[in-house]
Structure formats: structure tokens, C-alpha cells
């Protein structure tokens, strides 16, 4: 037991001797080592993903309860979504995740050119998803499926269908906002990697990758909830 009436402590390392090796990623002032910094960044992104899980989760929950209230209306409404475009878009997004993962790997291995190339493909796939989605919105508009703006539906199912399409636009819209942020993030990262700017390391690519994959997972759940309620 210590004699001092306080939490025993001593000092060994000083700020001056803190290991500042010539590793590429810069260590911010508050961190001791690059390892600590990377651990903090990864954990931070995962905590953010946990938050986002609950954010989208509450929306899915509202969807579930609304669907329990009006199962037939939801089934009818779902048949009016565009299955071909929806499925194609899912495939596009899944493929984008492949290239994102490849980019993270390339960056970790230090092959800068490959990492940049994969990032660009990822962003391009993200952009095509956005394009298809917007085209789909245009078709929805033509079929009078946009609540508030122009909505007409079989009156027997209109009540639940309005809720369905309200949720359809809320969920896909929110997803699209997240995806757009992801595209901006990925393109910015690609540019900075290419120009050898600071703020673009393998670590940054890995963190952006986590975000990208999460947005992908959200869509994985949206797809059956919106497009596949009832096709039989």
C-alpha cells in the first residue's frame, strides 16, 4: 500500500519522449500513438454505426407496425414499386461494396493507384444507383404515387398505400442522403490520395469503407420491405 493518501501514481513517459516515429499517418496531439489513433477512429465509426442502426431501426419499426395495421394495403402498394429497377439497384449497391472492400485492402497494402481506382469505381456505382433511383422516382410520379404531390390509388387500399408510399419516400430519401454523403466522402478521399494530400491514409479509407458498407446494409433491408411485400 502506498503511504500517500492518494491514488498512487507516478510518471514515466513525458510528452517529449512520446514515440513519434516517421509513420505516415499523422498522430493528432491528443493521441499517444498511431495505433491508439486508429483504434479510436475505428471505434468511433462503429459507435456512429450503432447510432445509425437505431435511427433507421426506429423507422423500420414504424414500418412494421404500419404494415401489421394494414397488411393488404401494403401488399397492394408494394406491387406498384418497380421491381426491376429496385433489384438492379440492389445489385449495383452490393457490387459497390465489393469495390469499396477492395479499395480498403489496396490502401492497407500501400498500393495507392489501385486504391484510388477502386474508390472511383465505388463512387461511380454509387452515382449510378442514385441515377436509377431518381429515374424510379420519376416513374413513381408518373404513376401518381407521390404523397403530397400527386397521389391516386385504388380507393379500397388508398389509406394504407399512402402510408406505404410515405414511408417509401422517407426511407429511400434518407438512404439517398446517406449515400450522397458517402459518394462525396469517397470521391474526396480518392482525390486526396491521388494528390498525396494530408488527411488521406489507409486508415481514412478503412473508416469511409465502414460507412459505405453500413449504408449498403440499410438498403439490403429496405429492398425486401419495399419491393417484395407481395409478388406472389
Amino acid at each position: 500500500m502506498k503511504t500517500a493518501g492518494a491514488q498512487a501514481l507516478s510518471t514515466v513517459r513525458t510528452a517529449a519522449t512520446r514515440p513519434r516515429t516517421a509513420r505516415r499517418p499523422r498522430v493528432a496531439e491528443q493521441f499517444e500513438t498511431a495505433v491508439q489513433q486508429r483504434a479510436a477512429a475505428t471505434l468511433g465509426m462503429w459507435v456512429f454505426i450503432a447510432t445509425e442502426t437505431l435511427f433507421f431501426g426506429a423507422l423500420f419499426f414504424a414500418y412494421a407496425i404500419a404494415r401489421i395495421q394494414a397488411p393488404d394495403d401494403f401488399a397492394q402498394a408494394s406491387r406498384h414499386t418497380n421491381l426491376v429497377l429496385g433489384t438492379a439497384n440492389t445489385a449495383i449497391l452490393l457490387s459497390s461494396s465489393l469495390f469499396m472492400a477492395l479499395s480498403v485492402r489496396a490502401a492497407a497494402l500501400g498500393t495507392r493507384q489501385a486504391a484510388v481506382g477502386f474508390l472511383v469505381i465505388t463512387a461511380a456505382l454509387g452515382l449510378s444507383f442514385t441515377g436509377v433511383k431518381l429515374a424510379e422516382y420519376a416513374l413513381d410520379y408518373r404513376e401518381h404515387l407521390v404523397p403530397l404531390v400527386d397521389f391516386a390509388f385504388d380507393p379500397r387500399h388508398a389509406r394504407g398505400a399512402l402510408v406505404f408510399f410515405g414511408l417509401y419516400f422517407a426511407t429511400t430519401g434518407l438512404h439517398l442522403v446517406h449515400l450522397s454523403i458517402g459518394i462525396a466522402l469517397v470521391l474526396g478521399l480518392a482525390w486526396r490520395l491521388l494528390a498525396r494530400r494530408p488527411g488521406a491514409s489507409a486508415e481514412h479509407v478503412a473508416i469511409a469503407g465502414l460507412y459505405w458498407h453500413f449504408v449498403d446494409i440499410v438498403w439490403i433491408f429496405l429492398y425486401p420491405c419495399l419491393y417484395l411485400v407481395s409478388r406472389a
Binding site: 394494414a70 393488404d72 379500397r156 387500399h157 389509406r159
Partner: protein, 326 residues
């Protein structure tokens, strides 16, 4: 006012709630005082500079003390909690299950008044007359936002929701006038959404009913509506009778429907209670009876909450299981 400022105890369940309240308040107050006494005793005895002996090695003394007290002060409260839960749940369930001989009364809440109707057709606003000793079941709904039917003297409260029925029941034990409050915030005049429950001796209540008799009872009014809204065109109301005038339409007979299990088109079975009847009028496509087509039009937006209640009372009156006097 009684001890604890309780309002008068005027229903059968109020007595049960009060026993529970005295017991729980008694125990929690005793424990609270014991904690405070201990804190004050320690605060004085172990003030800096006092002569009270202290352990040489306090962490070790704490560790020894923990072994003695920790299990006790975890398990004893736990046991008390489970007991309080069980007792509370028993009275809660009692509150939820009305006796079979209860008279049904109907409540429609609306910003910021209570509309009440007796099965005999007597209507009241912000006032409800009931007989002492007679079990009463309230079937309640709201025309706008959420309200809450609260009678402190009965120790009862139930939120009144738009779009569905909630129930509560009581048997008044004391005559007199008792407060009725809206307890769920409902907008500007929430605090004025108050009324009175008037409990009368059964014979006085019978006289009151007689004196306030409307043109006809709820079931009779429902029968009129049944024709006016065209329900009788398709639905039969006599057990063995032919379907309605519009014989080409295949619609389920309503005779003896109330209280019965109804097989639905999707294979499930529901009980034909107030909720089912209400939803069938407003959302006919939601639960279609097996063997029938979903051809009934919805009456949502065309029919008031009190009219729906009258129709329901009428349909109930077609059933033996819970026939209502007209």
C-alpha cells in the same frame, strides 16, 4: 380529507387500491426514514474530529462489512419488490375484467367535453348518473385526440383513444357527486374538461332514468340507423330469415353475431366484439369474414362515433349471449 389527502373512497376497487397504497407507502416511508436516520447518525458520529473509534484499515473493514450486509440489502428489497408487484398486478387485473352483469355505458370524448349515453338512450354531457352497487362498464372512444377518463374517488383512470375502444368498469359504493377529470393533456381547455359522476340509490337512479328517457333506446336508434345507412339492404338480422331486400348481395347475417368467433378469409379467427364491429363498419376490407367477398363500402368519414356506438348496441341486441334491453 383522509390520511394522505386521499379523496373519498367510492368504488369497490377504491378500497383495494387504498389498502395497497397504505401498505406500500408505509413500507417505503419506513425504509426511507431508516435510511435517513442512518445517514444522520453516521454524519454526527463520524464527523471529523469526533472521538468515535475508526478502523485502522477502513478498506478492509468495508470489505468485512460488505460480506455481512450486501446480500441482505439486495435480497430483502427484491423480495419486497416482487410482493408489491404481485399485489399491484392482482388489483390491476381486477380493474381490467368487468363482471358479466355490468351495464354498458358509452363515452365519447371530444375536445373538451364528455358525451355519455345510457343503453336506454339517455344522453348526458359532462355528467354521468349511475346507481350505487350496480357494476358499470364504460366503452369509450375519442373523436379527436387522446383524453383520459379519471375519477379520483373511484381510483380509476383510463385513456380514451381515437380510433378504438378502451374499457373500464366500476361499482360505486357511495352516493354523492364525484369529480370526473380529463387526465391526459388534450389542448387549450384541458383543465376545463371536467365533469361529475353522480352516484344515486338504485331506486332514485331508476326514477332519474325514467325522467330522462329519450325518444327511444340506443338499440332502437341503432335500428333506425341500420336502415338509414342501408345496412339492412344486405345484412339479415333474423336468425332464419331470408337475406335483406337486395337478395343478389351475399352478406353475412348479423343475428347472434356479437360475442361469437368469426372465421376470416385469411384463415384467422377473431371474436366479434365492439372493436371488430367498429372496424367492420369503418374498414370493411381489413377483416373479411370467410366465404364472403370484400364488397362492403367503408363508412369512414360518413358516420359519427355516437352513431357507430348505437349501431353496435343494436347488433349486440340481436345476440342471445349479451342481449341488451331496448
Amino acid at each position: 380529507m383522509s390520511a394522505l389527502a386521499l379523496p373519498p373512497e367510492a368504488s369497490t376497487i377504491a378500497a383495494h387500491v387504498d389498502h395497497l397504497l397504505y401498505a406500500v407507502v408505509g413500507v417505503t416511508a419506513a425504509v426511507t426514514l431508516a435510511i435517513f436516520a442512518t445517514i444522520i447518525a453516521f454524519a454526527i458520529r463520524y464527523r471529523a474530529g469526533s472521538a468515535a473509534p475508526r478502523a485502522e484499515d477502513v478498506p478492509a473493514a468495508q470489505a468485512r462489512a460488505r460480506r455481512r450486509v450486501e446480500a441482505a440489502w439486495t435480497l430483502v428489497p427484491l423480495a419486497l419488490f416482487v410482493a408489491a408487484f404481485a399485489w399491484g398486478a392482482r388489483v390491476y387485473v381486477e380493474r381490467a375484467l368487468p363482471p358479466s352483469d355490468a351495464t354498458q355505458l358509452f363515452v365519447v370524448a371530444k375536445q373538451w367535453t364528455w358525451k355519455l349515453q345510457h343503453p336506454g338512450g339517455q344522453r348526458e354531457i359532462d355528467e354521468l348518473h349511475v346507481a350505487r352497487g350496480q357494476p358499470v362498464e364504460l366503452v369509450m372512444t375519442s373523436e379527436d385526440v387522446i383524453h383520459s377518463f379519471y375519477v379520483p374517488a373511484f381510483r380509476l383512470k383510463q385513456d380514451v383513444l381515437p380510433g378504438r375502444y378502451t374499457q373500464m368498469w366500476f361499482t360505486a359504493t357511495e352516493t354523492g357527486r364525484f369529480h370526473l377529470f380529463c387526465a391526459e393533456y388534450c389542448g387549450t381547455d384541458h383543465s376545463r374538461m371536467r365533469g361529475d359522476i353522480v352516484v344515486m340509490e338504485p331506486e332514485d337512479f331508476a326514477r332519474w332514468l325514467e325522467g330522462h328517457r329519450g325518444a327511444s333506446g340506443m338499440a332502437a336508434q341503432g335500428e333506425v340507423l341500420f336502415r338509414e345507412y342501408g345496412c339492412s339492404g344486405c345484412h339479415a338480422t333474423q336468425p332464419s330469415a331470408q337475406p335483406g331486400a337486395n337478395a343478389s348481395v351475399h352478406a353475412p347475417s348479423l343475428a347472434g353475431l356479437y360475442g361469437r368467433p368469426v372465421p376470416l378469409a385469411d384463415g384467422s379467427v377473431v371474436k366479434a366484439d365492439e372493436r371488430y364491429l367498429r372496424d367492420s363498419i369503418l374498414l370493411p376490407d381489413k377483416e373479411v369474414a370467410a366465404g364472403y367477398e370484400a364488397i362492403m363500402p367503408s363508412f369512414a368519414g360518413r358516420i359519427g362515433e355516437d352513431e357507430i356506438l348505437e349501431l353496435i348496441v343494436y347488433i349486440e341486441s340481436l345476440s342471445d349471449t349479451k342481449g341488451r334491453p331496448q
